[in-house]
């Protein structure tokens, strides 16, 4: 059973906020989902290698050559705030 304070802590890690009004429902739903995972503990997985990729593929590398895939203007077009091709964020240094 995970308590509301712990769910709030996870939310902070995920950069999500949960209001005091919503925390009870969020905690109930969180615990419902975790209860679904209880069944996993019934499986004996000693000696079982975790499956990270369904093809057990390893990272393929390509030739390290310079290519232009996306134009800068196209990328910057979606920026919520920008100035001279820089993304603007609230001041981080005083």
């Amino acid at each position: 059973m995970t308590h509301a304070a712990a769910v709030k802590e996870v939310a902070v890690l995920a950069r999500l906020s949960i209001s005091d009004e919503d925390i009870e429902t969020a905690t109930t739903e969180f615990n419902q989902t975790l209860a679904l995972f209880d069944a996993l503990s019934s499986v004996d997985t000693t000696q079982v290698t975790p499956m990270v990729n369904p093809l057990d593929a390893v990272q393929r590398l390509r030739i390290d050559s310079v290519e232009t895939l996306v134009d800068r203007e196209g990328l910057m077009r979606n920026a919520p705030a920008q100035d001279q091709h820089y993304f603007l964020v609230p001041r981080v240094l005083d």
Binding site: F37, P50, P54, N78, P80
Partner: protein, 488 residues
Amino acid sequence: MAKAVNTLAALSQQLRTGSVSSRELTEDSLLRIARLNPALNAVITSCEDRALAAAAQADKALASGDVSPLLGIPMLHKDIFCTRDVRTTCASKMLAEFIPPYSATVVNRLETAGMISLGKCNMDEFAMGSSNETSFFGAARNPWDTARVPGGSSGGSAAAVAAGFATLATGTDTGGSIRQPAALCGITGLKPSYGRVSRYGMIAFASSMDQAGPMARTAEDCALVLSAMAGSDALDSTCSDQPVPNYAETLEQSISGLRIGVPKEFFSHHLDAAVADAIDRAIKELEQAGATIVDVSLPSTDLGVSTYYVIAPAEASANLSRYDGVRYGYRCENPADLEDLYTRSRSEGFGPEVKRRILVGTFTLSAASYDQYFMKAQQVRRVIANEYDTVLDNVDVIAGPSAPNTAFVLNDQSKSITDMYMEDVFTIGANLAGLPAISVPAGLVNGLPVGMQLIGRRFDEARLLNVAHQYQKRTDWHTLSPDLGGLV
């Protein structure tokens, strides 16, 4: 109920003989969308001018003798695929204004093959859902009964094809998101093997399971489209370089002597009795076509749901960390500082189901829970994949239901979050194991479609399409369309 509109293969033939033009087909589709979409909400964004311009190009190519099978055929994309200069939202407020500077490989390949993109289909937000109800743009409706869901997450694509907006829509499937809506809307939907189709430009949900595929009327149409969609891509290092066969060439092979496994766990208490009867009849049809039906067992079927709902949210929490309100996507008003910018942009930009999954994923990936949940789920994933491989060593194809029930009513308050997750109980296994699987229309229960699922060996899409095509030659469920007269 009415007999279906044309198939993609039939339209292709008509285009090449000159009995219809791409412009006429495109105008018909756009008109149909304009008339019916207000009731169905299957399409989020229409691209009329671009579509008509592309149709004019296609007509020129046809006139010059180009006989490419997909040339000039109108289609729709799930709004998870980036389309250059066309809004791509993933049905989220987070990306409601996002204009991609590039197109997904799937989009590029189908455009290169001459297909005409009419627009973008509704879906569950970031592909998280089995009903389309999590869309920021409101749920798409099932054309067979607009009080019911079309399934999800590719619900808009399924509804659009079922309503005859186009003969093809693209979909993506992470836990059943092509097959379940295909089943609920009475169309054919193929999830290829993991790595068969490039994921470049497909907005990521769970990277070790996401896969794109065709949603169409028939297995034959899916075969024509998969041949154009599939194949290695330098822009996606997880995309396989296995050669792509011409899937249409093997459709007519006899299935006599083929071994088809039926897992007893697929006929469990989760499955509606009337749906079970329909699937039984469909399997008998395969037997009458000469296949040998074999009882098999996939004992960890139910565990798939637990495994999936650890792994998919964990991968999603990592993938969706990129949405921070800085470079693109929704940004909150007047952030006080950088933390406030991140937290409020994400909290206001994501919907409830996406936030639920990010929370769970962040939790299972945290140091204190990693071994208990994430590592354990990856081990159980291997157990499940091994069970499928063992069964598929002895049979050519596995058959069973695609979904436990027919389309359920919208806003069903009796369904808990975990009830909704059980919608995927029969489809999740193929995603965990990376196997190809297809859903084909296999009957009606109380006037609503039922889908039969066929699961094959890795990269053996040709066999799946062959079996599905042979089934469709013997049955006419795929030719039925909902009566849409009342919607206009």
